[in-house]
Amino acid sequence: MKREPDLSVELCGIRLRNPLILASGILGTGPDLLVRVARAGAGAVTTKSCSLKPRKGHPNPTVLDWGHGLINAVGLANPGLEEMSRIIAQAKELLKPLGVPLIASIFGGKTEEFAALARKLNSLPDFIEVNISCPNVEAEMGRPFATDARMAARVTAAVREASQVPVIVKLSPNVTDIAYIARAVEEAGADAISAINTVSGMVIDIHSGRPVLANRIGGISGPAIKPIALRCIYEITRVVKVPVIGIGGVTSGKDALEMIMAGATAVGIGSAVYYRGVEAFGQIAGEMRDLMAELGYETLAEVRGLAHRA
């Protein structure tokens, strides 16, 4: 008799009861909402990316369902570090009894801003995730750091230096060679890598002849990007040793197992919240357990990286 499949994973020495992590920018705006996601079954939760100063973000439309996924250009709207620190502190308190770690996502326009954010957050969150990959603020901030290996490494090193907690660096798929960037941030000290952020895209309305997003260009997420995400995770885990959080288009237990087979240690969940509600977390975890039982796996370690076999 096989044992009940065990979904727990370890990420940089921190145990998650399951590998499903709320991705940044989805529902991560308040402590009660983060707790609701944890109660719904997430293994860890990530806050909306936070900058030093508050940001209004782009005008609407900012998020749309275009048929095979979502596209968004929220423009990193957030209440700024001060308010976000309060949110994180409250959330941390409420999450502790649930045993669900908190990841604080940060971003800035300059390397020093990233470092300052990490320094000020101190050991408030369990992890810091460095968002150097948002495709939706290019007009304002230039190309994301994640599109240049040298810049990505520099930000990573600065945050690693400043941070009290493990540092996750979030990569962009909108690059020629994501594995190359992954290696650069690993060498610069990243404790983990998360990928992918959204894929740069555009949706046009033929009646007005205009891009629908106010920002024109936005980031694609959801089912359409799953094969892109799987390929990126496969390419990254071929060359790095640090654990990778696989994100992109996961909406079912089957998708989550594919991500782990591609080499991921944990799995980010974003747009699935649109398709299945907050209940997505518990449902996906349940589906993973059922599939593992059917396929005869007891732990995720047995599943991890299977797609790399010769």
Binding site: L27, G57, P59, V74, D205, S208, V273, Y274
Partner: protein, 239 residues
């Protein structure tokens, strides 16, 4: 209730009705399935996209108060112009009881008219308190009357109907009206007052909340109120 339009769809304006000096009703060409209390996102290309409650779904109808840049721009649109809508979104009102008391403040009366229509179609009795700061802000009174509702008007300055805020007036008349369910839509303070009143009387109550809407589909977290999503769990909530 599934979303009919995930991406903004064009709807021609069939008719524009001036409800007051700062409120207009836009009757559009076309219809879709929706429940009272649900809302749509209205896109004006090149301007912005904002949430508005449905006043009717067949034909699609919105009642809009001019309060800022977007609504001012919208008020300039004429019959024949195109508006873009996606939706409907959220959870609407559930019909319960045989005699419904609706309490609306400002443009909050708009979704209540849709609710009143459904309730009257189902043969229920409907009383409505239309709240406004002054006489010229009172809207949709004729429409409720035409549906056969019992209409009570409450203005803060007493310039039309009862003097006082809508919940106060409603509470004073509550014994006479004797409703078996309360419904309210309007500013936060008003909703809170209605919630308290319902609690005191042990009446079921459904309230329609507002919050800053971005995605309207429950992912961005912009509209959350203590972990509750106005766009997806609401806008209507049982107290």
């Amino acid at each position: 209730m599934p979303t009919v339009h995930n991406l903004p769809q064009p709807f021609k304006i069939a008719e524009v009705i001036e409800e007051s000096y700062r409120v207009k009703t836009f009757v559009l060409e076309g219809s879709f399935e929706a429940e009272p209390g649900q809302f749509v996102m209205l896109w004006l290309p090149g301007v912005d996209e904002k949430p508005f409650s449905l006043v009717n779904s067949n034909p699609v109808t919105l009642t809009v108060a001019r309060v800022g840049p977007f609504t001012s721009e919208l008020h300039r649109r004429k019959p024949g112009d195109t508006l873009w809508l996606r939706g409907p979104f959220g959870n609407g009102f559930t019909l319960e009881g045989e005699h419904l008391l609706l309490i609306g403040g400002g443009y909050g009366v708009a979704p209540l008219l849709f609710l009143a229509r459904k309730a009257r179609e189902g043969g229920r009795r409907v009383s409505v308190v239309i709240g406004a700061s002054t006489a010229r802000d009172v809207i949709l009174a004729e429409d409720f009357l035409a549906l056969g509702c019992h209409v009570i008007i409450a203005t803060e300055d007493g310039s039309r109907g009862f003097r006082g805020k809508a919940p106060e007036v409603a509470e004073e008349l509550l014994r006479d009206i004797n409703p078996d369910a309360l419904y309210a839509c309007g500013p936060g303070g008003m909703l809170e007052a209605v919630r308290m009143m319902a609690g005191r009387r042990g009446l079921p109550v459904q309230l329609s909340y507002e919050s800053y809407i971005r995605c309207a589909i429950g992912v961005c977290g912009s509209c959350q109120r203590s972990g509750w999503l106005v766009c997806r769990d609401g806008p209507v909530r049982r107290a």
